[in-house]
């Protein structure tokens, strides 16, 4: 608590001007607009299949990263901190690049191998079931 009091004079007055309500509301509208755009794309795809799904997924991921950027930079105010602090949080997060690529490609590889060597599983996963048929365990608990 004492350290907070000591830090206050420097940290506090220096960036007072950067809490600009105009920028906050602009960020809010950007985030809302991106969300509405994503929703519109998802519904349009649902109704018309206007784009291949993997291209649409790429669009969604870019939109998500854009939203994340605005939240971190403006709402969490990281864009207004000094470079040392930005780097000390941003650089460890680069691990996510490896994390996502390694694990998702591992999943894809597993599917490929299983489809190749477990023909029974492949056949099962290609056989449609009737819509009305309920999963045996899908009943509500307590309802007979």
């Amino acid at each position: 608590m004492d350290s907070a009091a000591i830090a206050t004079p420097q940290t506090h007055h220096a960036d007072k001007h950067s809490f600009d309500t105009r920028i906050i509301w602009r960020t809010f509208w950007i985030l809302t607009a991106i969300t509405i755009f994503e929703l519109a794309m998802a519904i349009l795809y649902y109704e018309t299949d206007f784009l291949p799904k993997h291209i649409l997924n790429g669009v969604f991921l870019i939109m998500t990263l854009a939203k994340a950027f605005f939240i971190i930079a403006e709402f969490m105010h990281l864009g207004h901190e000094i470079k040392n602090l930005v780097m000390t949080t941003a650089i460890p997060c680069l691990l996510f690049l490896w994390f996502v690529i390694a694990f998702v490609s591992d999943g894809a590889s597993f599917r490929h191998l299983r489809n190749q060597y477990d023909r029974y599983e492949l056949e099962q996963s290609k056989t449609p079931v009737h819509k009305t048929e309920q999963h045996p365990e899908a009943k509500k608990p307590g309802v007979e």
Partner: protein, 224 residues
């Protein structure tokens, strides 16, 4: 974008705070980074399992209900409303932090109150969504939905859905508790006596992080 500092400033030679923030705020950033990896691990394991499946349920089919309108399908509308609520409550939180910078007790209390209302609204929406899915037969270990190509779906879909949205909802719940404590402390004038409102800033960081995670949960479960 980075804050302007005099060129050639020797940050590491002692006597200065190299990150130019208070200790607690820096630690909050590191906590959030570790929490990001926790959520990252959950979401990436979901991605791995989904990539290893030949097919997966269609979110537009699963999440198409809205309270009041009954059976009319409105894909993703409800979850978009939840997203909007969380973004709006993030805005009121920033406004509270901004008011704290100006030592404006009344305004801080007003915006903290709105933020808490937003958090409670989000939790209520999630409670409705979970209840509805549960009534349709979905729960951990039970999946009533078909894959998008009409084949039998595994329970991976519901297991991941309830675990990850549940973990996120628990974060929202903790955030509401923290914000309520902040509101009471502000009301009792604790921060005025301290002379600064840095605690509000730390609570704000946590609250925005919850919003940030939801952006990724929204994409992973409802859009992809």
């Amino acid at each position: 974008m980075a804050q302007a500092v005099p060129a050639g400033q020797k940050w590491w030679s002692g006597g200065k705070s190299p990150f130019h923030v208070e200790y607690g705020k820096l630690m909050m950033w590191y906590f959030l980074m570790s929490d990001a990896f926790t959520f990252g691990a959950l979401l990436i394991s979901y991605g791995t399992i989904r990539m290893s499946s030949n097919s997966w349920p269609n979110p537009n089919e699963v999440f198409k209900t809205f309270p009041i309108v009954g059976e009319m399908p409105v894909p993703l509308a409800f979850v978009s409303l939840m997203t909007f609520i969380l973004i709006a409550s993030s805005v009121t939180m920033v406004l509270a932090v901004g008011a704290g910078h100006n030592q404006d007790r009344k305004t801080v209390m007003k915006y903290l109150f709105f933020t808490i209302i937003g958090g409670l609204a989000f939790l209520s929406c999630q409670a409705w969504e979970w209840t509805h899915l549960h009534m349709e037969g979905a729960w951990w270990g039970r999946n009533p939905f078909m894959n998008i190509d009409g084949t039998q779906s595994s329970t991976n879909f519901t297991n991941f859905f309830f675990t990850i949205t549940g973990f996120h909802g628990f974060h929202v719940f903790s955030g509401v508790i923290v914000n309520t404590i902040m509101l009471i402390m502000t009301w009792r004038g604790v921060f005025d006596r301290k002379g600064h409102y840095l605690m509000i800033e730390k609570a704000g960081l946590y609250w925005h992080f919850v919003d940030l995670v939801w952006v990724f949960v929204f994409t992973c479960f409802y859009l992809l």
